[in-house]
Every structure is written in structure tokens, then in C-alpha cells.
Amino acid sequence: MNNSLVVALIASGVAYGTPLLFGALGELLAERSGVLNLGVEGMMLVGAVMGFWTVQRVHGGSALALVLAIVVAAVAGTAMAAIHAFLVITLRASQIVSGLALTIFAGAAGLSSYLGNDLNLSGLPASHAFHPVFPNSMQSWPIVGPIVFGQNPLVYASWVCVIAVAFYLARTRPGLNLRAVGEAPGAADAMGIDVVKYRYAHTLAGGAFAGIAGATVTLAITPQWVSGITGGAGWIAIALVIFAFWRPELCLVGAYFFGAMQALAPELQARNISLGPTELWTNSLPYAATVIVLVVVSSRGARRRLGAPAALGVPYVREEA
């Protein structure tokens, strides 16, 4: 039963979906504060290369190396996000231009590739990687074994993050403030909430999540570094936030859906099932879905209906003369 295509697809969907989930949670936090971050892909790549570099360099226990790698990846993502935050919040530059610029700057032909080459990381297997933590006996339980107990620790960490973010948004004072900042920065400011501080904090947090998302790719899914390894996952994460109506719990569902689509090609191949030029359509499926979702929901009216933060993409200028 555990070898059936459906169970295997769900199990791999969860694994493949985890970087998307981390990326989407980060993007969600930034967007809820009113900052659109199109640099997720670039931040993921920088997190991916720096996380991978850390496990190659740290000599010591596997757990230590991996925890350090996640921290380094998060810091790298945060540093990238700091550039974005400064440009769009303090200097009020165009959020779209700044985000795109960061992705190009850090992308497959930019900073992350340079670091990968310069640090001689390409083509090496990871010295340490995340592996399933539960005993084999549990992993072979029907259905829940591979799906729930066959996952690496980052998957479980992402579940904690989803719950934490959902609780934060709905039930806490800072979460309420955050939503106000993204919906009506003028009103929030009048109530004494520091709009700039909230936007910075959540853009930076978004960068940290993106960095971790990148490290998830190079340390758990395909434990190696190849230039451009995230393969557009950052863009899917951005689409996911819209697809999930800016709600963390729906980000999880969407991430696993896209993850399963990514897993479709390898799973079919593993079973020697051929559906014509498989690569052509299975590999492009997540991207095609992303494009469709973005087109459908990007009209202004649709965004409002779906629950986009009203001040998303709009710099805040206090009206004091």
C-alpha cells in the first residue's frame, strides 16, 4: 500500500512542498505588512548555497552542522531582505523593481552561482543532510508511515511554523498590529503603531524564511549544490501566497499540492510509466499552474475579494506636511 502511486505522491509532495511552504510563509509575513517581495527566488538561492557551504565546512556532529547551516541560511536570507527593506520602505523604491533586481542579482547567473563556484561547492554531495528521524518500523506503517513519519525534521519544523504564524496573525497583539499595517497604514500610524518598524521586521523575517527554504532544498531534498538549484520555487512560493488567500494554513495545502506536482515526474519515472514526452508536461506543470493562478487572481477586483492586504505594494508616507 505504501508503494502505491497516491501515497508516494503525497509523501513526496510533502517533502518537495516544504521549501515552498517556508518560502510562502515568509512571503506571507512580508505581504501582510504591505511589502511585496519578488526577491524570494534570489533569497532562496543565497540561503541554499550558504547553508550547503556551512555543512561542508563545519567539522563536528551532524546535528550541530545542520542547525548551524539553517541559521546561516536564515541570516543570508535576512541580509538579502534587508536590502529590499531599505530600498522599498526607507527609500520608497518600487517594490516590484527592487524584488526583481534582487532575484536577478542573486539568481542562477549571479551571486549564488559565484559563491558556489568560488567556494568550490558544485557537484559535491552534502557532508550532512536531513534524514527521516522516526524508526523504520514506524515509517512502514500503512499510509501515515511514509506521509507523516517518513519526513525529515525540517518538515516538522515547518508544521510548527504554520501553527505559530497562524496563531500570531489571528490571536496576538503584534499580529493584529501587523494586519493593520498591511491594511491601513494610516490608521495604524494614528494609533501609535510604528509602520516602518513592522514592515522592516516582517520583511526581514520573510527573508529568513526564504533562506531556510533554500537550505531545505540543498540539505534535505537534493543534498547537493548546483547553480540555480531552486528552479523557480521562489516564484511558486509567491503565487502560493495569493493562491492561499494570505492564510498560512492554506499555504500548507497549496505547497503540498504544488510539491506533489513536482514529484509527479520522478514518481512516474520510477514506476516506468510513460505518458509520452513526460518531462515536457510534468516538469512544466507547477509553473503552468503558477502562471494561471497569478493571471486569474492578479486583477484588482479579484485581489480585494480574495483578501489581499489593501496596502500591499504601497509605500507609506505620513501626511505630516
Binding site: T172, R179, G186, D189, M191
Partner: protein
């Protein structure tokens, strides 16, 4: 502190903006337990003063005392913490939040201080406050679901919830129906009965008379007088406001010469914004030199009618003729060329291009004349703008000032200057004086009457019955997309009945 102790005191407040001295050494004080009105024309400095009192602006000079203590606010939050809360004309509410969530947002003492938020406690408090001050509102409703009047209640509740000692209300009745306004006045009396202070900003004399205990009149950035309201007549307040004695009784033209029909509308049907039919088979004629007024409660199709005639909105059926020429549906340029001028209701959104300088705005419709091929003749445009500024007495720093830096009255003068520039046959004026102060209203009325004297057919659409009675030669009432003719021009009862939907002969 005694019951009539001074709550707020401003001494020699001065505030400058580029090119404008908004407050010039203003002295002002409001006592505990009183409704104190700030009366003045638009641009007199009322809003600036209230923004200074509520912490949004900082004064360039002068001192504010609260309950005798000198204070200096650096933000609206400082003012709220000190017990001074402002209810803005444009509400400061998060539309997607519930009423209770909005209240928690500003709360720094009670439920809002905890990390975890629990709206239920706040909801109970909202209900209690709502009952006590006659501000009923469902605490679980989301702001976007509420009417404008209800949103204002939320703002006032918010101030009370934050235990404000001083409430500043900026033109609160502008968004209310007369009934809602009366209820608001009762609420304000309740609030001051407890020793709180209400500062009520308005340019409407009757409101100020109805609600305030004392009134401070501002003119051109100066506080010209503070008087006990009961001792002041509307005329005396009006003359303080505009600095000259002023006939509140309105102008009435004796000689209405009706020429040939310049505007002829037949069987006009127009669709509204939400796909419903807003105008249903309207028939309408305006003769040259005639002022025809359309009365009615807003939202009965007046805006759609005006826009369809002006060509801004396509019509589904019917014909519009200006001086005999049939206009194509949805073609504003054709309407303009036929000699139709349009003063739209939304003067900042539709009447002018807010970010363009005055020069460009004056020429918006006529720039095609006298250009050199594709090039604009900037110097000539500037000269014409200067001429318009002089002729229409537009108060502006200069022809390069952007339109949205002007006050409402001056924007309206700018629109009129532009619409009168060509050869005008018909003028559609939609709520041309809404939100304007007494002086500007008078000017606009003067221009409308002058136009009629020159043989222009004027179609005036207004909710202000006083305005309609003062100007119109003929009155029509619009109700649910249809027009009814008022038989006896001065019969208020008939007009009121038609506005409420009574049947009458169709014109």
C-alpha cells in the same frame, strides 16, 4: 478643577505651509463640559488648528496647555495618550477588521495590552458604551459592511473607549443624513454632560447654532472672535466668518428669459455602476437663459444623468441634443464641442487633474486650439491661466500650483473658469457648492446666474433645497431614475413629497 475649568488652551499658535500662513497667532480655549465650535470658511485654518491639537501637525510657534499643563505632542498617539482624540473626516479605521478589533488596535491600557487578544471582552464594552451614548453598532461587524454614519459612530466609540477627555470632530455632519446629524448632536450633549469637552469643527451656521455652547470664529488663519452661541445670530456669525456683512437671503433672478431649447433630452436610459438601471426614460428640456434645477436625495440617478448628458457615461437608449446637435453616446469631446460645460460632482477626482498645475488644468479642454502642431504653447497657456486666476479670483500661490493644493472653493472656481472658456451653450452643474464655505457658495451662485443672463441654459443638480429655491426658474425632482415636474415652484411640501417618491405628472 471646577466644572467650567479650561480643558484645552492654545496660545499664539502659528503654523506655516509653503506659501500659506495657515494659523496666525491663534488663541483658543475650550472648557470642560462644553461643545465648542470652531467655525470658519474652508481654508480659514480650522483643520490646521485641529490637527495641531490632535498631534498630527506640530506648531511652528505657540503653546498648547491641557488642563493647565503645557504639552507638546509628537504624534497623534501622544495626543490620544493625553486624552485628546480626533474623529477625522476620512475615517481612520481598518476596513477589514471588526469594530472590536479596531478598538483593540488603539488600546494601550486594557485588553489591547496583552500579547494574546480576546475580542469578546471588548465586544461587551462596545455594547455598553453604545447603549450609554446612543451609538448602537454591532461590535462583530466588519467596518466595510457598515454605512458611513455607523463608521463615524465607531470612531466616536473608539475615542470614548480610549477614555478621551477631549474629542475633536472634523466636519462630522458632512457624511450624515439630517436625522443622523440630530442623533449625533444628542450624543455630543451626553458626552459633555460628563465633563468632557467636544470641539466641533464646521462651516455650517445652523449646525453650530444647534449644537454648540460657545463658538470661536476663524478667518484667514486668525481667531477673530469667541462668542456664546446663544447670544449670536446666524447673520453676525456669518459676517464674522467672511469679514463683511452678508445677505444670507439668497439671490433670486427676477427676469427669467427663456430662449429656444439649448438642451433637449429624450427617452434617456442609463446604466448605473452596478449594472442596475439608474436613469429610466428621462425627458428634459432646458431653454437658453434658464436655470433648471433637479432636486432629490443623492443616489436616485442624478449623477448618472449628468454624466450621460455630458458624454462621460454611455447611455443605453435615448437622444441628447445640445443646441440642436445630436450628441454621440459616451463622447465627452463631442459634448464639449457642441458647447456643453460640465461641473462634475467629484471635483477633485473628475473636475481637475489634481497633480497638474493650474495652467494645465485651465487648458485641459482647449489645448487643441492654437497649438503649434504637436507642441503646446506654454507661454500663452500661462498667460491665459493668469487671466483666469484674476478673473475668477482664484486664491493660489501662482499658476504653477498643483490643483490639489487649492481649497474646494478655489478648485470649483478653476473648473468654472475652464468650462466658461469656450463658447458655452449649456452648463451642467452637479452639486457645485457641496462642501464649500459661504463666500465660495455665493461666488459660484453668481457665476451660474451670470451664465444664465448670457443666455446659457443651466442644469443645476443639487441636494441643497435652499440653493435650488434661490436659483431655479423651474424645479424637477428625481426619484429612482425618473423625473417629476414641480407644479408650484415655491411649494416645499410638493417638493418634499416628490423627493419621497410621490406620483406626479411627468414633465
Amino acid at each position: 478643577m471646577t466644572a467650567d475649568g479650561v480643558a484645552v488652551e492654545a496660545r499664539a499658535i502659528t503654523k506655516r505651509f509653503p506659501g500659506v500662513l495657515a494659523n496666525d497667532a491663534v488663541d483658543f480655549e475650550a472648557r470642560r463640559g462644553e461643545v465648542h465650535a470652531l467655525l470658519g470658511e474652508n481654508g480659514a485654518g480650522k483643520s490646521t488648528l485641529s490637527h495641531i491639537l490632535s498631534g498630527l501637525y506640530r506648531p511652528d510657534d505657540g503653546e498648547i496647555r491641557l488642563h493647565g499643563q503645557p504639552i507638546s505632542f509628537h504624534s497623534p498617539r501622544d495626543a490620544i495618550d493625553a486624552g485628546v482624540c480626533m474623529v477625522h473626516q476620512h475615517f481612520r479605521l481598518v476596513e477589514r477588521f471588526t469594530v472590536a478589533e479596531n478598538l483593540i488596535l488603539g488600546d494601550r491600557r486594557g485588553a489591547g495590552r496583552r500579547f494574546r487578544i480576546d475580542p469578546t471582552a471588548v465586544e461587551a464594552q462596545v455594547r455598553k458604551l453604545g447603549e450609554r451614548y446612543r451609538l448602537p453598532v454591532n461590535p462583530r461587524a466588519r467596518i466595510w459592511q457598515l454605512s458611513v454614519g455607523e463608521r463615524q459612530r465607531v470612531e466616536i466609540l473608539n475615542a470614548l473607549y480610549q477614555e478621551a477627555r477631549v474629542l475633536i470632530l472634523d466636519e462630522p455632519t458632512a457624511v450624515l443624513t439630517p436625522d443622523e446629524a440630530d442623533t449625533l448632536f444628542e450624543t455630543l450633549r451626553e458626552i459633555v454632560a460628563e465633563g468632557r469637552t467636544v470641539i466641533f469643527i464646521s462651516h455650517k451656521l445652523n449646525e453650530v447654532k444647534a449644537v454648540s455652547d460657545r463658538v470661536t470664529v476663524l478667518r484667514a488663519g486668525r481667531a477673530v472672535a469667541t462668542v456664546v452661541t446663544a447670544d449670536a445670530s446666524p447673520q453676525s456669525l456669518a459676517s464674522l466668518m467672511i469679514g463683511r456683512t452678508f445677505e444670507l437671503a439668497t439671490r433670486r433672478r427676477d427676469t427669467a428669459t427663456r430662449g429656444d431649447a439649448v438642451l433637449d433630452v429624450r427617452d434617456l436610459w442609463v446604466e448605473g455602476d452596478r449594472g442596475s438601471t439608474a436613469v429610466k426614460g428621462v425627458e428634459l428640456t432646458v431653454g437658453g437663459g434658464e436655470i433648471v434645477a433637479i432636486a432629490g436625495v443623492a443616489g436616485n440617478g442624478q449623477r448618472e444623468l449628468a454624466e450621460a448628458i455630458a458624454g462621460v457615461r454611455p447611455r443605453t437608449r435615448g437622444t441628447v441634443r445640445v443646441a440642436g446637435r445630436a450628441l454621440r453616446s459616451g463622447d465627452p469631446r463631442a459634448a464639449h464641442r457642441a458647447g456643453l460645460g460640465f461641473v462634475p460632482e467629484d471635483r477633485l477626482g473628475m473636475g481637475v487633474a489634481p497633480n497638474l498645475p493650474l495652467t494645465m488644468n485651465v487648458e485641459l479642454k482647449s489645448y487643441r486650439h492654437g497649438t503649434l502642431g504637436p507642441f503646446l504653447r506654454l507661454r500663452r497657456m500661462r498667460e491665459r491661466a493668469l487671466a483666469a486666476i484674476r478673473a475668477y479670483e482664484i486664491k493660489a500661490p501662482g499658476p504653477d500650483a498643483e490643483a490639489d493644493t487649492l481649497s474646494g472653493g478655489n478648485i470649483q472656481k478653476l473648473v468654472l473658469a475652464r468650462e466658461f472658456a469656450g463658447e458655452l451653450r449649456v452648463l451642467i452643474a452637479a452639486s457645485p457648492t457641496r462642501g464649500l464655505d459661504v463666500g465660495a457658495v455665493d461666488t459660484v451662485h453668481g457665476h451660474l446666474c451670470d451664465a444664465a443672463e448670457r443666455g446659457v441654459g443651466v442644469l443645476l443638480i443639487s441636494e441643497d433645497l435652499d440653493e435650488i429655491l434661490a436659483l431655479a426658474d423651474r424645479i424637477l425632482v428625481m426619484y429612482e431614475g425618473r423625473l417629476s415636474q414641480v407644479e408650484r415652484r415655491d411649494d416645499m411640501d410638493e417638493i418634499a413629497a416628490l423627493m419621497a417618491g410621490a406620483e406626479n405628472a411627468r414633465p
